[in-house]
Symmetry: C2
Subunit: 560 residues, 2 copies
Amino acid sequence: MKKIVVIGGVAAGLKAAAKARRCDPKAHITVVEKGELISYGACGMPYYVAGDVDNIEQLMMTPAGAVRNPAFFKNVKDIEVKTKTLATKINRDRKTVTVKNLESGEETELPYDKLVIATGASPVKPPLPGIELANIFQMWHPNDAKAVREGLERGKFSRAVIIGAGLVGMEMAEALKMWEVDVAVVEMKEQVFPAFLDPEIAGAVEKYAQEKGIHIYTGEKVERFSGDGSVQEVVTDKRVLPADLVILAIGVRPNVELARDAGLELGVTGAIAVNEYMQTSDPDIYAGGDCVENTNIITGRKVYAPMGSTANKHGRVIGENLCGAKAKFRGVLNTVVVKVMDLNVGKVGLTERDAKELGYEYVTALIGGHDRPHYMPGAKLMSLKIIVDANTRRVLGAQAFGEAEIAKRIDVIATAITLGGTVDDLFDIDLGYAPPYSSPIDNVAVAANAVMNKLAGKLKGISPLEAKDKLNCEDIIFLDVRSPEECKQIRLANCKDIRYIPLGQLRKRLSELDKDKEIIAFCKISLRGYEAALILEGEGFDKVKVMEGGIIAWPFACEK
Amino acid sequence: MKKIVVIGGVAAGLKAAAKARRCDPKAHITVVEKGELISYGACGMPYYVAGDVDNIEQLMMTPAGAVRNPAFFKNVKDIEVKTKTLATKINRDRKTVTVKNLESGEETELPYDKLVIATGASPVKPPLPGIELANIFQMWHPNDAKAVREGLERGKFSRAVIIGAGLVGMEMAEALKMWEVDVAVVEMKEQVFPAFLDPEIAGAVEKYAQEKGIHIYTGEKVERFSGDGSVQEVVTDKRVLPADLVILAIGVRPNVELARDAGLELGVTGAIAVNEYMQTSDPDIYAGGDCVENTNIITGRKVYAPMGSTANKHGRVIGENLCGAKAKFRGVLNTVVVKVMDLNVGKVGLTERDAKELGYEYVTALIGGHDRPHYMPGAKLMSLKIIVDANTRRVLGAQAFGEAEIAKRIDVIATAITLGGTVDDLFDIDLGYAPPYSSPIDNVAVAANAVMNKLAGKLKGISPLEAKDKLNCEDIIFLDVRSPEECKQIRLANCKDIRYIPLGQLRKRLSELDKDKEIIAFCKISLRGYEAALILEGEGFDKVKVMEGGIIAWPFACEK
């Protein structure tokens, strides 16, 4: 009878065990987990803290309401799960794992034919003065979430500082705002979501969050925490922030000690190296989840990209291979979707920064538009940027934000990238159309269209970042072609020379514009801006550019 | 100066004109439209009738609030639009179109270098007795929508009969229910959405609509209408339905007379034949929108599939080619998304019926699940069926329904099919994951997984349709492995031999089941049903099948 031992009982480990059981009803399968809880939905913790989820136990239940505890795995899947059991050593010579019962202290050896390492990751805890003060939490274990929620329910917290403007940090910012806590986010890098957004997209997201009352301090480093027993102040290199709650969210590191001590290979990212079958350098030992590194599908490069979705796929592949299959894991696109208040943000594939660093010749487009026909109730705006290889026309990546439906567009582009799709393919796809869901020309097709126009030389765009540098220039006209009503509501700020000519009047008012000057045309989403550029070009203006994304994607100051 | 004439000013025609203008600032572009209105969002009419859209004019406006009338097209796009102008003849010999001003009766000839036919389609009006009675509407022109909405606002209508359970019919059923009108839908075919759903999926959709109070009579033919001036009764071959409002929604036919009279080729579907460049049999004449036939991307067959989204793509391709490009239109996947009350329904590619008729060897899977982690507020259930080529493993089609987010999954599968993706690709895609949007293993991956398991011989499924035929059989056990609480709420009806054994007790209660009998295991979504089958197979039961989709996809009677 085959003996399978799995180290780690959260996502990848239990998935591998369950899949192995489905493939082999007779194998003896043991899972050891150092904690008390298993198989919990860690990604749900911010929503538990926010109050969206009533009870932390829901994160450990099946949809039918059964608690995923050791008894459940025994009864349903015939898998033995040992909690509070720490794997201390892998003895590859005799194919055993030494485990220690954390309650009794007893040590035993579990023999294996096949071993799975799914030891996950641990949050980074910076060695700053005051880090051990009370009410400084890492949002990693359900106990953290419980403690924060209890404190919120008892009204203990009114000023929170979150360290790190990544996924956990920004999700927690939203969660805490739900309790009307004053929230500040401190990020060392110059932008929010530094790991996956280009700066102009991050700028727009940051602007939104600030408008919703989340204070964001980028390019700022936390130096220490102070307080009497519990935290009272966060001291950065620029200011002192009062705080009765601190959330540390500066990233995670893979738990590789066990693997490293056993002589298994680590990869360039520092995580455990695995091949396409999820095998470590020892073919009888598999590894998956947050402790391994992945391959980026586009570049073939190794990346550290811990995600619950990836961990589950790892588990399935490992489970099959434990039973003799040769299933492969293809890799990742570093896809991200995240909600910040009512803003949806998404990213897939390469950022523009990645594309530049990797030496691609690329074209980008940043477009705006409603996610449904504008006349439908609930139609919302989004901005979508796509990055395309200028030579092969293959789609390299996309980023999107807006209160609109973002995730669908990101998933469509993820699918296209996975299958090597070009920008032309993106335009061609027969996406589902009905007014409750989408416009006849979906935002994805609009973005593809814009790139195709650029590749054909029919659209000269300028990014908000470049446009900003020209705000103060002498010989540059910013041409806002929106209606007077729209201009009353919001306008670009700090323009040296801005003209307001509604698109419908442009053909008659050409004499107001100087052909010698560079003109940057725009509107709310820059579709009318594009029309304006075409009109001007048709009339012999040859220095016209369209400000991509329009006002809704403008990450800098506006007047109201 | 190039002269471009476009016949038809709704979707494809105006899109072609606008795109041509963008490519060629100097061309002389004229659009003739027989009606008074142009460029309206016809697909929005049910939502105007429902009251979701306040004002019918919104369907004719740009997102910025400009009315898309002839003045707008003149000022913004330098396109001349002649409304109330009927094209009566295409004179290919001298390259002119004879047009008639419907107000003055005056006839003129417009010369063209390139001509675009975008004459659209007309709703089918069956020659039934009483068809001319008042309050029998075809939901085709904004005037129809206005008349129905006005009647509803004045409380004129309390009992509506809709003829045809296709897209327009079911959207109008929802719209009228919003006004608390008693709604009956009569459909000649044996199911709702006969054009694009397999019968078991249609059955589940019909069951939902019936539960929401829409009376549906399938396999029933309307014979006549009766009433005194306005309609009072709809007489079918089975019953008499009282009605003060009738909506005819039995489909549309392409308007091809002008093209046919000019000697242009029609296709096998009866619509205008065009090549991949959207050219008719006369290379100077293009055609697009609801008057042409399309090519199905999977089969290469010609299909008649009028859709607003397709018409817009046609317009872009035509517009480019009018200016000398060689843009191609790839074809369609007959993608559909439609909302019926709170139910979302979608379809892409081939149905199982299509696959069978076309001689494919195929495998299907029908799975169920939440669209987000079950603990998230607003998580809803969906059922998803995919159809896969058993030899090439390529995805052929999908259908989905549920209150969950359907459109995203349909669009992902549409993208995969367009790019020739296999079921393995579907599993691999790095789809965006965060609890507000999706589960770590998205429904698409779950469905792919089920097909992969079937192809590997690890899952023996039985469709609800096949299972229904076995409800009364002697030697067949239906095994419901849900919890007692779930079984209290809803159960399959009319089972000869049904057993209730919660999954967690199954290993201990194996002796209650007879190995000689065929066992059909299921649960709410049949994930536990699958686990049950694996347990039984592991214990030597060799006649076990999983009822696909579980109770939520069961289209037949249930007990409550």
